[in-house]
Symmetry: C2
Subunit: 359 residues, 2 copies
DNA sequence: GGGCTTTGGTCAAGCGTTTAATCAAAGTGG
DNA sequence: CCACTTTGATTAAACGCTTGACCAAAGCCC
């Protein structure tokens, strides 16, 4: 433990004004000494307290000292005093499980940052123990609040410990109403929008290939489909809704059944199914979009934008979900007490729907 | 400022042993009082100091008090004392820009967690100011170190402020050698592996559709392709390397040129190109994999695993990049001082390559 | 039974800030 | 010239925890 002077590097770098290096961090006190004032004064100028009376000259002296020494506040000390940090925790049940789920991180990050908060993230892989630890960690770090998110829209039971913090559910919701603030995609509206794209194309016989897997999306999109038909004065025909596993193979596999229905258009539960369907249709000698119009759901960029023809679809607002989550958490957006906030799923039209000339 | 007693909620919840609620957090001192010991003692049992002498009985009393009161340590106070937090910062130039980039977050998160660290993330969108702020924030929170990552493999100049922390570059590297620890994918090996899949299928005339966009990947994969051919005793034919924009449209557009080369197999710069090529090939009446074998690169799940036929490709080790990044940061893995450490890109074979019966 | 070690624990300083209370000097009005 | 206000800055406590130094009681040995 030999005493150690300023220069920690080996190569002597003469009189660099701003000191950068990885040594003992400069503290408030050092700045104060350098500026010949008390630490209180330095604190005051740093935080620009408006009712603090500091001579302009002194203020300048302090600022110079800060620059000279390359001072950085110790956020931990600050937090200790204030009681809560500038962190927002994000616990996710799958950080990169699905490509676009990353968007909720993205949205949350941007919005948090905008309000001076940083994101602390934890991946739980749906492991309850891991989850508990993650939440505990966040609590210990005195996060402002926690965003509890899932990679696909689903009901979830909120973990007990979560209640120790301010929190909001993102892309999921509590079955018991009013138990928690939440924000989710508006599946019904999405289903309606998707169907309307087809309707606007002049189609009347429209099939819907739904998912076999139970989920709010499955019920919601179906309802949206029905609503849109009804609004257009088209009677709902149960024969026209098929079901398949929601991936490419499912879509491909549904081709045959679909063809039997003699429809001119089809709304697929998601883009992946649409992708599979493209293949099936093509193998049957049909050409898109003329022989069959198709719309998907999710707006999964890699797929939707680059299929041939590019797929018209409806976007899952993951980014907005994340952003809205932090706004609600911070009390910037109103959250209705009774139910989850629903975020709109905007339609994005590309060219997989041809306008059908009336027969 | 009326004095405030324990129960802050309105509904009286009688004698719940573990107190959970969002009120004043319980402190070490309160636990100490409840257990009838000093705060020092409590601290000692919490941290399981092995050379501390505490009677088993006392230890138990303290533990009970902790449980009773629902005590949670204040990580900020801890950090303040110790000087460095249990955070690892991750600054990324695009959190969800590309689907699999999320995997580096994922890998970093898992590995960090494994060693008791939490991830603090910041998205910079390649904005230098944002980046500086993000790094400053991390520094202020006394992160253990920073992972500086990019969403695609590229050279980068390391920001000045980054040097104030312990850091490692992930998926990018500094042009000046030895300037920074870094971990990147091994593009050459990847290119070799991709080519070898084709070679093993018995193919001899193998085309390579490279990207038009300059990048380490472009050079590396080409080199790998050459190396593999050479090792197989096949002379390199510049005629067989085409170039296109690295997406579906690029792959599709390259079809015609490719067909002129009379090859039996093709290695595409990435999966998206391969996807486009599938369409082009099919339109020309070719069937995969019999008329043409194709391998991609990236192993972009949504695409590669679900094309028909499923695409053989080479995986970009984003998860491992993130994980290795924290290991290097933590000094768990050796990092060669001179160059970036290269992570292997493993081949993943599916069924887009038919074994060619020797002519 | 007096000095020594061991056991079980406490004391208090310190980590880097913030902030209410306080204070000294200078200015102001009558 | 004195009482009072304003200005500019300091003092010191507090935030919740860790840790080296210290201490009292009990046990041990000769």
């Amino acid at each position: 433990m030999i005493s150690q002077e300023k220069n920690s590097g080996s190569a002597a770098t003469p009189d660099v004004p701003v000191r950068k290096s990885r040594a003992q961090p400069v503290t408030l006190r050092e700045v104060a000494e350098a500026a010949g004032v008390s630490t209180a004064t330095v604190s005051l100028v740093i935080n620009k307290k408006k009712n603090a009376r500091i001579a302009e000259q002194t203020r300048q002296r302090v600022k110079d000292a800060i620059r000279q020494l390359g001072y950085r506040p110790n956020a931990m000390a600050k937090t200790l005093v204030s009681g809560t940090s500038k962190f927002i925790g994000l616990v996710a049940d799958g950080v990169a499980t699905t490509p676009f789920a990353g968007q909720i991180i993205h949205g949350a990050q941007d919005e948090a940052w905008k309000h001076g908060y940083a994101l602390l993230i934890a991946n739980t892989e749906r492991n309850r123990d891991l989850e508990k630890d993650a939440i505990a960690m966040m609590l210990e770090y005195k996060v402002r609040g926690i965003l509890y998110s899932t990679w696909f829209h689903r009901p979830t039971v909120v973990p007990e410990t979560l209640r120790e913090a301010d929190f909001v559910l993102v892309n999921c919701f509590s079955p018991e109403p009013g138990a928690a603030r939440a924000v989710v995609p508006d599946e019904e509206q999405g289903g309606r929008s998707a169907t309307e794209i087809l309707l606007r194309g002049g189609h009347r016989r429209i099939a819907f290939i739904n998912a076999t897997t139970p989920a709010p999306a499955r019920d919601g999109r179906l309802q949206g489909y029905k609503d849109a038909l009804e609004a257009a004065g088209i009677p709902f025909d149960p024969e026209l809704v098929l079901e398949a596993y929601p991936d490419q193979e499912g879509g491909y596999g549904a081709t045959e059944e679909l063809l039997k229905r003699h429809v001119t258009a089809v709304f697929c539960y998601n883009d992946r199914m649409a992708m599979g369907l493209y293949d099936g249709l093509r193998e049957n000698g049909l050409s898109l979009p003329d022989d069959m119009a198709v719309v998907g759901f999710d707006n999964q960029e890699v797929i939707a934008a680059h299929l041939r023809p590019p797929l018209s679809t409806v976007s899952l607002p993951h980014y907005e979900l994340g952003a809205a989550g932090v706004r609600i958490l911070l009390g910037l957006d109103e959250a209705p007490g009774d139910a989850a906030v629903k975020m709109m799923c905007p339609a994005v039209e590309r060219s997989s729907v041809a306008v059908r000339t009336p027969a």
